[in-house]
Symmetry: C2
Subunit: 333 residues, 2 copies
């Protein structure tokens, strides 16, 4: 690379764009499909395919446990895994602000490559745009992905009263870490984003049978995802405060910032709603899979208050866990 | 919608995000796959698939002949069509700046829906993020898409000396229009972006046989795409200035702005390199397809200066048409 920062020329589609692709991206992501560099990639896949897209605008770009690159790969890989699919290929589109350091771009590219390798996916096609200083915020990343559906038919419509609600670990680690990092308070704390690919945990749960639906509770957290499940459906979900796993550092960060871990983003956890008779098997399978050691049964599906999520506090109270209208935490992913 | 402008709450993943999706996007793009609203869409496709992504940062967002929404659909549809594929499904990811008018978002959504219908594709999955005022520029759009490959094996590696180079119409209409619109000079001129889906033109050419490669000359224009074909390959391309179609208004705009139409972006033209014996058939087929009426044979593949694009001027001179290093026109798409 002939420059130390990204200039508008790198988004021109001309020689500078080619330099960026050939000297930075191809070496990082090298695979035969990407190397062909046509207008698109050609891949061989068949049958029911999952297709998902996500743009990432997290601030700061680098945080304990990850960065925007790892987040962008895991985010789309996880959306595919939640569809019951094996993630196969990703596209990568970068929106870079003029003046962004090439060195940081290299770090993000390395992080994307590492996360893709861990998740077993290839970056097969991409795009780069550069916008003027003040028209972006360093770097925004979009990934889209395709996976082959191995376990068809997952849907919240399959949820039945009596089902168990399982969470694959502690809540709110990503959201709390990013918020504290934004205040410069995360470096010397034990806080780390939980950002990780969930394809192995999803497979472990699905192989047990009885899984009605999977979802990764990102923006809006566990409370929002459960509300999406119950809304306009003929069942309620009831959670037990004491059953909800929260890391002490996350609880402390939430107390400090006035946040609720139930609404904090996760980037490496899945929620599984499972037929009661398979719930122990799913819980055991998750606990024996890396990243799922702290999996917990957090609640049940009931008919007590259809459409709502009920929350039983440790003190014996019960309240409705509302869906948030707006932003508890902007730009968390 | 309860607000007239987009606030950060609309990107929260909570109730406001749901409102945006349910009241604005679902009615605009309604289809069964999108309506299911999981983490991703499940689609049934088989065999060789083309997969492409593109982010759009055009300024201004609205210009004669199109807007960022139409551009985003056509851009990805065209990348798929250039792979010899029939475009099938698109993802849509919006990156909205806080304060963006809901009314403009509605216009863009309507434009996306109309372009998708014309191109025969469905928007099956999406994502919305909102960034703070001053961290974006109104609206950025990413589309990714999947198509089924109908005509496999297109590649610049297939190009052979003697082949014909065909362009499906006039050069530089999109680039010249956007630049003039940025200066406020396009409204009362005959300039219009050529933005359109190219799937029918691609099919018309490919059905004739003999097509080596297709490419839509967007950023960097015809000159840049032809340089991508010749670079490090054992042939040259020779163009005739007099054979290159340029609309008078585009030529006037280029003269005014000091631009060269050969390097100006097109968003509704394709370049086809075709075996000589099929070139008349391809030219006729393109001319009889809407949007291809002004198709022209613009040059030949030769062995005169391998790796280079040569340009024969109307006055009898000959020069090398270089690849631009950087930006002639930033943020044109």
């Amino acid at each position: 690379m002939t420059e130390e920062i990204i200039t508008l020329d790198y988004g021109s589609g001309g020689g500078k764009t080619a330099e960026l692709i050939e000297e930075l991206f191809l070496p990082a992501f090298h695979n035969d499909t990407l190397n062909r560099l046509g207008d698109g990639a050609v891949v061989n896949l068949s049958g029911a395919l999952a297709f998902s897209t996500d743009s990432f605008v997290v601030s700061p770009l680098f945080f304990p446990g990850g960065d925007i690159g790892k987040l962008a790969v895991c985010g789309t890989v996880n959306d595919l895994a939640m569809c019951g699919a094996e993630p196969k290929v990703l596209s990568l589109s970068l929106l870079i602000e003029e003046g962004f350091p090439v060195e940081q771009l290299r770090r993000v590219a390395a992080s994307i490559a590492a996360a893709a390798e861990e998740a077993g996916v290839e970056i097969v096609t991409g795009d780069t745009k550069v916008v003027e200083r003040g028209k972006g915020d360093g770097l925004y990343v979009n990934t889209s992905g395709i996976g082959t559906v191995i376990y068809p038919g997952l849907s919240p419509d399959k949820i039945t009263p009596g089902d168990a609600v399982i969470l694959s670990g502690t809540m709110g680690d990503h959201g709390a870490t990013v918020m504290m990092a934004r205040e410069g308070l995360a470096e010397n704390s034990p806080l780390r984003s939980d950002c990780r690919p969930l394809h192995r945990l999803a497979k472990a749960a699905l192989d047990c049978g009885g899984v009605r639906v999977l979802r990764d509770p990102t923006r809006g957290g566990v409370a929002t995802t459960l509300n999406e499940f119950t809304q306009n459906r003929p069942f309620s979900m009831e959670l037990e405060e004491e059953a909800l796993p929260v890391a002490p550092a996350v609880q402390a960060a939430c107390d400090l910032l006035g946040l609720d871990a139930l609404y904090c983003a996760n980037e490496g956890k899945l929620l599984a709603v499972v037929a009661k008779e398979r719930s122990s098997a799913v819980l055991e399978a998750l606990r024996h899979t890396p990243g799922g050691e702290d999996s917990a049964l957090i609640g049940q599906v009931t008919q007590r208050a259809p459409g709502k999520v009920l929350y039983h506090t440790a003190l014996g109270g019960c309240r409705v866990l509302a869906r948030l209208a707006g932003a508890q935490l902007p730009r968390i992913c």
